[in-house]
Amino acid sequence: MEASSSQSLGRDPVARRLLLAGLIGAAVALTLGIYGSAHTPASDLSITLGFTNTITMKVWLATIAIAFALVQILTALWMYGRLPLHAAPSWLGRVHRISGRLAFIVSLPVAYHCLYQLGFQHSSARVLAHSILGCVFYGAFATKIVVVRSPKLPGAALPIAGALSFTVLVCVWLTSGVWYISNSGFPSP
């Protein structure tokens, strides 16, 4: 029974594509996690990108990424007819893609600093959750990109991948930016 179901899975091109997308995402997340664990944290890297200090930069960029991700979610809901608005305008798809690209770009300096300077840490439940979720986010994002570019997948695949990426990103932000803001206040840039 199990052999026949795995044979049919292997023959089903849609299932194969979905499996491939999931495996690519898992590989990305695992690679980041392994790098974060194996790499010796630098502890002395200062990236500010014009902000007053590194933590301020990370809080701001993570929050900006969340704002762009929110635009992604709202535009996706509009395109899927889930908002009580008139039909989505033709330019909305571009806005959706642009907001996604911007969210990804502004997240990169934050992720780089986390991975290079801090690595994969587990000093508390929050830090462990943040480390895991940070890796999972880029895995989920990679899966979403593969799904976007894969033709003939079930209609639910893309919204599920997008919602998963957004949810994980929000959890990453909750376990870092929001935690910091709730303890120390929102830093001025």
Partner: protein, 138 residues
């Protein structure tokens, strides 16, 4: 217009991801990114970011100040009362955190700051929290 922005960002995001991958393995020196030169968290041998007076012993303020300078807080944080000018972490004189906030972040870590729970005792964390809350911004 949106199409041009979209295509430009597609290129930028791809190149940025590639750059980050390169930097992860080659190090920030590849693009000349600044390293603070400090010995790192938990060390007191920072590159001149601390000119705090030596610990005189006795009061809880002095105990807190000793922890502040010896645990490596000075390498990352500016705190006028301790004579430190670190810029990796937030300026504590501007932030003026409560003792509870300091205690929490020292124990659990946050942002770029690691947890000091395994390096400092509860008494040391309490002392440094009281000290920072008491002198920040003054």
């Amino acid at each position: 217009m949106l199409r041009v922005i979209d295509r430009g960002l597609a290129l930028i995001s791809g190149l940025a991801a590639l750059l980050v991958l390169l930097l992860l393995f080659a190090g920030p020196g590849l693009i000349g990114a600044k390293k603070s030169g400090n010995a790192g968290y938990g060390s007191s041998s920072g590159s001149g970011s601390s000119s705090a007076p030596a610990y005189s012993g006795g009061s809880s303020t002095s105990a807190g100040q000793k922890v502040f300078t010896s645990a490596g807080c000075a390498t990352c944080h500016t705190l006028k009362a301790a004579g430190t000018t670190g810029t990796v972490g937030p300026n504590l004189d501007q932030l003026r955190p409560t003792a509870a906030a300091v205690s929490s972040i020292v124990q659990s870590g946050g942002g770029a700051m690691p947890s000091f729970a395994g390096k400092l005792s509860s008494a040391q964390i309490s002392a440094v929290a009281q000290y920072v809350a008491g002198v920040a911004g003054r």
